[in-house]
């Protein structure tokens, strides 16, 4: 890739950033570097315009109130929607994942309009889902098993326009045996841990959606991530 660096846009870290969400940005930058792709990270706070010319957009988790505010501002701003419409990659976790859908649950569980970038609807479940999660990815994506940690009370229903990212082996995910969703280059998940730390192949998928086929990474640069992954997969399987 020549010309300008890959633009990684972190959307609303002031509203949508809880445990470890920064980790997904850090890992994306690192994986890109290992593949020889120069990057530029751009944090966009909720009092700023979301640029529509980014390459990969990241959204993290958040409590109910910040999630509602973020939805309102993003809908009014329009930058993320424009970017997604022109083919940008969007990766969202937890509250951010729910926001991508057509509706999500408000403070009292009432449905509120989301961004409509994914054909999913989320609401509030009976109990909180907290713990290690394992899930087997849609074979069409060609990724190894996902490992992560979930902490949410959401239940997500997929419409015909979205495919499940994975099927749970352990944990709750969307609540119906599936976890996460994707359509085109928009992908969401309940996993943190953070998700891309424990699943570098998922980071590579996002990068490849943005830039095409990737150069391989030297094995020694993946050794620690591979060991962590192995440990977490084994621990969650018991």
């Amino acid at each position: 890739m020549t010309g300008r660096p890959l633009r990684l846009v972190w959307v609303y870290p002031d509203l949508l950033s809880t445990y470890g969400d920064r980790g997904n940005l850090i890992v994306l930058e690192r994986r890109a570097r290992l593949h020889g792709i120069p990057t530029q990270a751009i944090g966009v706070n909720s009092d700023q315009r979301v640029p529509s010319d980014g390459d990969i957009y990241l959204m993290g988790g958040g409590e109910d109130l910040p999630q509602i505010l973020a939805a309102r501002r993003l809908r009014a701003d329009g930058g993320l929607r424009a970017a997604a419409a022109s083919g940008a990659v969007v990766f969202a976790v937890c509250a951010g994942y729910q926001l991508l859908g057509t509706e999500f649950g408000g403070v009292e569980g009432q449905p509120l309009p989301g961004l409509g970038l994914l054909d999913i609807r989320s609401g509030r479940g009976e109990q909180r889902s907290v713990g290690e999660i394992l899930a087997d990815v849609d074979p069409a994506l060609g990724l190894p098993r996902l490992t992560g940690f979930e902490n949410h009370q959401g239940v997500t229903h997929l419409g015909p326009g979205a495919r499940p990212l994975s099927r749970t082996v352990r944990g709750v995910g969307n609540g119906d045996g599936t976890e996460g969703a994707y359509a085109g280059r928009v992908l969401g998940t309940y996993l943190h841990g953070p998700a891309l730390v424990r699943n570098p192949a998922l980071a590579d998928l996002l990068l490849s959606w943005a830039v095409g086929p990737l150069r391989p990474v030297a094995p020694q640069d993946e050794e620690w991530a591979r060991r962590l992954r192995g440990e977490r997969l084994a621990a969650a399987a018991t």
Partner: protein
Amino acid sequence: MRARLATTVGGAAGRLSRLAGRGDGSVIGGRIGLWLEPDLLSMLAAGRQVILVTGTNGKTTTTRLITAGLGALGQAVASNGFGANMEEGLAAALGQAPNAPYAVLEVDEKYLPRVIRATAPRVVVLLNLSRDQMDRAAEIWLLARRWRDAFGGVPGMRVVANADDPLVAWAAASAASVTWVSAGQRWREDSWCCPQCGSHLRRDGDDWRCGECSCARPRVSWVLDGGKVIDSAGRAHELDLALPGRANRANAVVALAVVEVFGITVAQALPRLREVTSVAGRYTQVERRGRPLRLLLAKNPAGWLEAFDVVDPPPTPIVLAVNAQEPDGRDTSWLWDVDYRVLRGRRVFVTGERRLDLAVRLEADGIGFELVDGIDDAVDRVEGRLDVLANYTAFQQIRATLGRVS
């Protein structure tokens, strides 16, 4: 009578627990007492001047500093000084000091509203609020809202609160009387937005205000200014604490503001605060195989950020130890919220049950590290002094290895 029976039985259980080598026995005693008498906590608190201390970080140290300052009154003080901060621990601490007219109690953030109802406190201390053990703790905006609701309509209660933490200030503002302290806020990742309306806050140094609603930092009467405290009369005093770091200076300023409520001056309290050298094993200097070690406990991103302020400059090596047991929170994601680049230029050892999480994190920040099997493995690899930073159960394991230093 019922309270006495419940505390007697509870006390016996506590002694049994100590004999069995299971902790210091305070929690099991309180648990049995509360089971026998659900109103035990309010019975035990009745007639005393109760001070409750809560916040994400600094509870145990601030509780210790307030207790030290109250010593100027020359009367007995009940306190749960070892951090057992749920109802059982509080009941046990009060039961063990039945005649103490004062009680300084650290309280888990989540239990504060309940404990306020049970103990009718004279003072409630709010230190800070930030992300912590999110797999089991309430989310912090929700927590702040519950605090705010709990402060309304409690007569005679004073809140001493850190005005520099927007969530804390917003929660405290519902109380009838508040002493505002500028205790600083280093960790800001959880308070970029207005607690009232959610707009991005305008921040300038420690000052903050919302651009869209009336929410703003209140006028403060106590200030931490570098190494000095400026008291409510505007006089500056060198703190000169034995405890290290900015966070402990902030805790000390809060403690001084609290003891003033009881008529204790800075001149009376400060010498007593300076005598506090370690708190439940934290900040303790110990010798291990001829090397001096210093033990630091921090449990969440804000705590690690403050702890990095305390560690020796490079090249003093550091051991980082992380577990993810129940009391630590099962989720290690928080490791990604900490910036480790300040550790460059020294040897970094990683240990604990989740040392691989640390390894991947440090690698991403370009920090060289060595995996070690426990504290002694690290000690054997260095000459000279060593700092040790651990989260909760990792800290307890290291203390056990070192023979329960205190």
